[in-house]
Structure formats: C-alpha cells, structure tokens
C-alpha cells in the first residue's frame, strides 16, 4: 500500500459526511457529447422536456443545444419547468432562438433562476431540424408534448422517451437539499400513541452554519424545498440548536403537525449540520419510546445505500414477531418521483404479494404493510423486495410495538447488482 494513494482515499471517506464540494456546479439536462439521434416527431411544433433535473439551485446564463439542422431561423425556444408532484409548471421561457450550427450555446437574457429539481424543455417552433438525442448514455430520458407547452401540464400527458435529450446547462450551485429525514412529525396514531420528534442540529465547524428545514406533509406532492414552509436556521460555530418541529412549523399546536418528511437544505459548499432526530412515542408519565433516525443523504445510492434509484432493488425484512408488533412501510420520493414494484417473498422464493406503485415528485407517505400490499398480510421474517423502475426513493419499514407503541425503523438497502 502506497501512502499517497491511501491519504487521498481517506480524505474522500472522511469528508463525505459533512462537506459538499464547493466548486461542484449545478447541472440541468444532458450533454451526451455526440448525439446519435433526433427527438420523436410527436408534432411539427412540439416541446421536449428533459427529465434530468437541476442538481441544485442556481442561475443559468447559457444553454448548450444540439440541433439536427443548421441555419434555421427562430427554430426553438427554451422553457424551464418546476415539478410539483406530477405537475410541470412553466416558470421561465427564453427565445425564440435561431440555429447557426449543430452545436450551439445560446445566452439567456436575462439569466434564469432555477431550483433544485427544475427541468429544462425545448420547443421546436419552425419546420427546420430538431433537437438531438442520444441513446446509450445515463439519463432519465425526456417527455415529448404536442405543440408549445405554455401552461401547466403533467408528466403523464406527454410521451416518454428513454433517450437523453441533448440540451444542457451548468452554473455555480447556490443551495441544495443535502439530506432528508424521511419520517418525522407530531401525530396521534393508533392504540393511543402520540408520536413526537425532537430535533438537534450541531455545527461542529469553526464557521457560522446556515440553512433551511422544510417539512413535507404526508400525502401531499411538494415542489422544490425552497417553496415549502421552510424554517431558516443559523448556528454559530461550535453550537447546537434544539428544535421542536411542532413549534417551528405549526406554532406548537399539539399533535397538529402530522406525519411528514423533513428536508435539510444548505448553501452549496457549506458543511451541513449534524442532525440528531429522535422520533418517539410520548406516553407522558409512562415514559417515552423511540429511536434516533439517521438522515439520508440524497447521494446515498449504490450497494448498501438507502436511496434506491431506477434500475436498482432494495431489500428489508419484516419483523420477527408480528403478533407483538405492527409494520408500516414508508416511501419518500425525490425530484423525479418514483415508480416501484414491491414484492413480499418467503424463504422459498415464493412471491406472496406484489404491488406496483407510482409516487409523484417529493412525495411522502407511510402505510400499514397490509394496505401497502393491497390487503395481503405480511408475515414474520419475510423478505420485502423493492425494485425502482423510474426516479428514486427512500423506502423504510417501521416496526411499532403494539403495547408500548415504540417505533423503530429499518431502511430498505440497495442490493449489489450481482454477487
């Protein structure tokens, strides 16, 4: 083992928990380099929206466009969309632009502010060439719509294409969602339970730390976190901040916060706070019972990770004793929503139940496992396999004791692609 290589490796391991690369720019769309196709011709005038979302907040000043023809006057316009659940809301448009070469960079005047998760679209306005695409590159694809999309539309109203739409922009990142707590809240549950969450944020660094917390209520599609009911925090160096989410989000109304998911957003390049969240049942004089919930970083993908991306499967195991505990399944999607197939398997590999589910972007819900599997009870120590076919999500199983109402959570972990 050579020392130099070892030091570099360790640096990446140790930095990862807290620090973002300060100079990592935000991107939106896809730049395949050498496109090998053109978009589908849904109509002479059509709008293609790339499903490769903005990786952070930022201000875009120029866009790189690959076009199949050249010398096309007023050939296209650009539109930026905000995804709220499955709704695409046009936020800013620029153009029309004329095509002067197959690869061109157009300036946006004025620049366009985008939020993490926003999408970029291109509208073909003249019958001269078309947007280029590429297959065989990593991409979420694009959606093509008839005509110019100038009002709200949905992701299911267009035609989905699994090829990269060759429009791309990059800019310095300003803010981004660093991590989420998939399930927090203050809510009265079944069997007399009263779940609460205590939240502590620690700034272990020598600099002031700022950011936002956004509560995403259960069952309600959300837009980017900067449009939620954000709570801004500012933590001096070396200090901690203790927060009652009920106080900061609903003014302390007992039990009114409900169940939800919490996003932690920080300025790009700034360390994120150490988040210590305890979710517990508060039985008053009879004590509390709960667990520390670890935040999930959005980049926690890959084998063993907690974010299951398209093409990956995650696994969890049902409780050992289903007579003493109840089992709920929670799903939190991200900027691209999620389509998933869930299966309950026994040890012989028999599929005992299957469900296919769609979740809008930035959506969170928790259901009892039987309802999740459409009425099929989940037995003890069964394997639950979650396969995500589109978007990405965190999926967890919450085991709650029937007497003490003590909750605890295991995450579905991404399995290796092959052993």
């Amino acid at each position: 083992m050579k020392l130099r290589a070892s030091a570099a490796l360790l640096a990446s391991l140790l930095v990862a928990p807290f620090v973002f690369a300060a100079d990592t720019p935000m991107t939106i769309g896809s730049d395949p380099g050498s496109p090998n196709g053109t978009d589908i011709t849904t109509d002479a005038i059509r709008t293609d929206i790339s499903l490769d979302p903005a990786t952070a907040d930022g201000v875009i000043t120029s866009v790189k466009v690959y076009w199949s023809g050249a010398q096309c006057s007023n050939a296209f316009s650009l539109t930026f969309f905000r995804r709220v659940g499955d709704m695409l809301v046009p936020k800013s448009g620029r153009g029309p632009f004329s095509v002067t070469s197959n690869v061109m960079t157009v300036q946006l005047t004025p620049p366009v502010s985008v939020a993490q998760g926003d999408l970029i679209g291109i509208t073909r306005l003249a019958d001269c060439g078309g947007p280029s695409t590429s297959i065989g590159v990593p991409t979420a694809g694009y959606i093509s719509y008839y005509g110019a999309v100038t009002t709200n539309t949905t992701v299911i109203d267009g035609q989905r294409v699994n090829a990269a739409l060759a429009i791309f922009a990059s800019a310095p990142a300003t803010n981004l969602t660093a991590e989420v707590l998939p399930a927090i809240g203050a809510v009265r549950g079944v069997a007399g339970s009263s779940f609460k969450t205590s939240l502590q944020l620690l700034n272990p660094t020598s600099s002031l730390m700022t950011g936002w917390l956004t509560f995403n209520p259960h069952g309600i599609p959300q837009g980017p976190t900067s449009f939620g009911s954000g709570y801004g925090f500012s933590i001096p160096a070396g200090q901690q901040l203790t927060i009652d989410p009920s106080v900061v989000f609903v003014g302390g109304a007992d039990g009114q916060l409900g169940l939800g998911s919490l996003d932690v957003q920080v300025p790009a390049g700034q360390a994120r706070p150490q988040v210590i969240a305890r979710v517990y049942n508060d039985a008053g004089a009879e004590g509390t019972a709960g667990f520390y919930e670890e935040p999930v970083a959005l980049g926690d993908t890959g084998p063993g990770g907690r974010v299951i991306s398209a093409g990956s499967s995650g696994f969890m195991v049902t409780p050992v004793d289903v007579k003493r505990t109840r089992f709920n399944i929670g799903v939190r999607s991200f900027f691209s929503g999620a389509d998933l197939t869930a299966q309950v398997l026994d040890n012989a590999g028999h599929v005992l139940a299957t469900t296919t589910r769609h979740y809008p972007a930035n959506y969170y819900e928790q259901l009892d496992a039987t309802s999740f599997f459409e009425g099929v009870p989940v037995g003890a120590s069964k394997t639950i396999k979650i396969t995500v076919t589109d978007g990405s999500a965190v999926v967890y199983g919450a085991t709650t004791d029937n007497v003490t109402n003590d909750p605890s959570v295991q995450y579905a972990l991404v399995a290796p692609a092959a052993q």
Partner: protein, 411 residues
C-alpha cells in the same frame, strides 16, 4: 472547514480491501528519508500502520534497508495483538539486503489473522530500516533486542512516522461488519435487553452466503477465539435469530463482528436491540451495522474528531456512552461542552484492541453529570473506535442509539 484540514490515516484507508482477495500489512513509503530509532544495535521495529487487512497468508514482504549488501541483516516478524500485548506468531530469516528496496518471498508463507502486525528485527550491525520523517501516522514501536514471545505495547518506544515495511499475500476471510452493542442483559430499572438478528441474502441467484458471527464480551479484550456462530444462507433467504444471545449461548452486553470469506457476499443485517417487558411490550431500535469502510463517518480514526449530543430531556432519560475499538485499540479525549464552548468535563481514555464497553455518561466523564443538549466532542489520537451515545427512557427502558460522527480530522 474544507481547506483547513488535512486527512491522513492508514487504518481506514486500508479498510476497503476487506472484500478483495488481496491481503496487505504495513506500508511501503516509497522513498524513505530517515532511519528507524536506534535504541539498540539489535532491535525490533513493529509497524502499527495498516494491520493485516484480512486473515490469510503473507507470501511476500518488501522492506527498505539503508545499506547493501548486508549479510544476514534482518528478520521479518509477525505479531498478534490481543488487548495491549503483542505476541510473536511467526518469523522468517535472517535475510541479507541486496539493495535499498528488498522484496523477499516468505517461505513457507506466513499465516496471519486480520489485525496482525509486521515487524523487522535488525540483527547485524549493517544498515537499518527506512522511515518517512515528516509524515505523522500510527508509526511503529521499537524494542531493544530480537523480540520473541510477548511484549507490551507500552514497553516499546513509539515513533510517529511510518516505517517502510509491508507484506502482501492472499486473503481468506475478513471483518465485514460490526454491531457495536448487542446482547442479552438485565439492566437498571428492571430492564431486560435482548437482540434479534435477521440476516438476508438478497441474491440474485441461489449462491449461499456464509460466514460467522463473533461475540466479544464487554469489558474484555476481544480475540479471534471468542464465541462464534457460523451461518450459511441460501440465495433469496433470510436467517432469523429471535434471540441472538440464546442462539450463541452468551449472556451480557457485548459487541458482534461478522466475518466473511474473502470474495464472499455480506448479508444484509437487520438487528433490533430492545427491552423486553413481556406482556408490557417491547421497546427498542434497529441498530445499523458499521462497515469497515463506513462512509458515514461513524468510525473515528487517529487524528479525527467526532461529535454527538446529549439527550434533549435528561430528566426522563439516561445516557450511556459506548466505545468499540478495532484492531489498533484507541486513545481518545472526550470533552463535554456547553453551547458557549465552555469545557464542562474532560476525560482521556485508553482502550485496548477489539475492546468494547458501555458506561453511564456521568461515570464516563469522571462524575460530572451531563446536561440537556450538551455537546460531546471525541478526539481520537491513536487507533480507531466506534463511539455511540445510548439514550434510554427511565420509565419504559426504551433504548436508542446515536453514533458520534466524524466532523473533521487535523493532521
């Protein structure tokens, strides 16, 4: 924070090798710029850098020697660390130096256990091992004479720079995960803690995952001979141990290692630690296993500083602090801070290799009570450890755990 810190530690850097077939021990510094500490003409240097990354056999050793040729100049030695003692388990040589960089075949190959250390004994008055002055790391220990038998770590002269001495070979098995705290134990307030364990082989395919679970009892230096339980899980199946303590025939609090064959897969581990109040129900939490290459900052290595927070409501809960070391033991300084940065308590502690203990926070800090939401800062100056805070409700005896998370490391 970025830019103001420099990271260097060999323990974790070596960790990703656990799933590979290669086995390494010690470090090759490339271009040494200094000699070892000459405490005696005949002396033994034992590298503390990069303990054997797996169990297996060492077939080749590379050592830098300052002079050549030197006839029968050095021996290569391998030591096993149990607690704070080092026991010679094999040696080869003497060997003659033929140049500054000497690569030597081990004949026969040397069987080592994960965590074993490599040493070199200077046995002729000609040349010496090379070191890299200016790099601070785990370094090496120097003993007078040609060490045989057992020596104490504390009896050696510590040098804080790497010695250019490394071995390589073939791995057979390695540590895949640690559950820092498991057990079957009766605690305070009438609590009865248990651990259920589920191991899932998600496949794909039917290839079985096999390995063994090793229980290290709290308060005792862990050893490879500690109580273990083999397992083999066919593809697509889950193995459930409703009561881990009963399945392994152990009682009390301890720490669990998962050892897997080299190249084998690691099952998904679902461990629930809970208080079992019988008809009054259970209360507990799912405990995340810690991987040797933990990417979430839960292994605090030499030079690193980690943090955790005291509970929000100490009137309703009690806080215990647990420490589990790995193959090099750990030397830590813990501080209790308020929000103004005042140091309310400080404690320096030494833990031997593969050791685990959990104590109440007040005892941990020498009798100073820990207040609500106070900051616990842990700096590791030697070795590495997993450190956690266990919050337990005083009425329900419900336990839950937060790990100390690495914030930065300063060299």
């Amino acid at each position: 924070m970025k830019g103001s810190v420099v990271f260097l530690c060999l323990m974790i850097a070596a960790a990703p090798a656990v799933f590979g077939q290669a086995l390494t021990v010690g470090v090759d510094v490339g271009s040494p710029n200094s000699s070892d500490t000459a405490i005696a003409a005949t002396r033994t240097d034992i590298s503390l850098d990069n303990p054997a990354t797996a169990t297996g056999t060492i077939t080749s050793v590379k050592v830098y020697w300052s002079s050549a040729p030197c006839a029968n100049a050095f021996k290569i030695k391998f030591f096993r660390r149990v607690g704070d003692n080092l026991t010679l388990v094999a040696e080869r040589g003497p060997f003659s130096s033929t140049g500054s960089s000497n690569t030597i075949a081990m004949t026969p190959a040397v069987a080592v256990l994960q965590g074993d250390l490599i040493g070199v004994a200077r046995v002729a008055d000609c040349g010496n091992p090379g070191t890299l002055f200016g790099i601070v790391d785990a370094g090496y220990l120097v003993y007078a004479g040609d060490v045989t038998g057992t020596v104490a770590v504390a009896d050696g002269t510590r040098a804080g720079s790497p010695i250019s001495l490394s071995g390589s070979g073939t791995a057979t098995e390695s540590l895949a995960a640690v559950l820092p705290a498991v057990g079957s134990v009766t605690g305070t307030f009438g609590s009865s803690f248990k651990t259920s364990l589920q191991l899932l082989n998600p496949g794909p395919g039917v290839t079985a995952m096999s390995g063994r679970l090793v229980f290290h009892k709290a308060g005792v230096a862990g050893a490879s001979t500690d109580t273990s339980l083999p397992y083999s899980i066919p593809g697509g199946q889950a193995l459930t141990l409703p009561d881990l303590g009963a399945a392994m025939g152990v009682t009390g609090l301890g720490s669990l290692d998962m050892i897997i064959p080299s190249g084998g897969g690691k099952p998904q581990i679902v461990a629930r630690v809970y208080n079992d109040a019988g008809t009054s129900g259970t209360a507990g939490f799912f405990e995340d296993p810690i991987l040797p290459a933990d990417a979430n900052g839960r292994i605090v290595s030499m030079g690193a500083t980690a943090f955790m927070l005291a509970p929000v409501d100490p009137a309703r809960t009690r806080l215990n602090i647990g420490v589990r070391t790995l193959y090099s033991g750990a030397l830590i300084t813990a501080q209790l801070l308020d929000n103004a940065g005042h140091v309310l308590a400080s404690a320096s502690k030494h833990y031997s290799a593969n050791y685990f203990e959990q104590v109440d926070a007040t005892g941990f800090f020498g009798g100073v009570p820990v207040g609500a939401s106070q900051i616990i800062k842990i700096s590791v100056s030697d070795g590495s450890a997993i450190i956690y805070g266990s919050t337990t409700d005083n009425v329900t005896n419900d336990p839950s755990v937060q790990y100390a998370i690495v914030a930065f490391a300063i060299l």
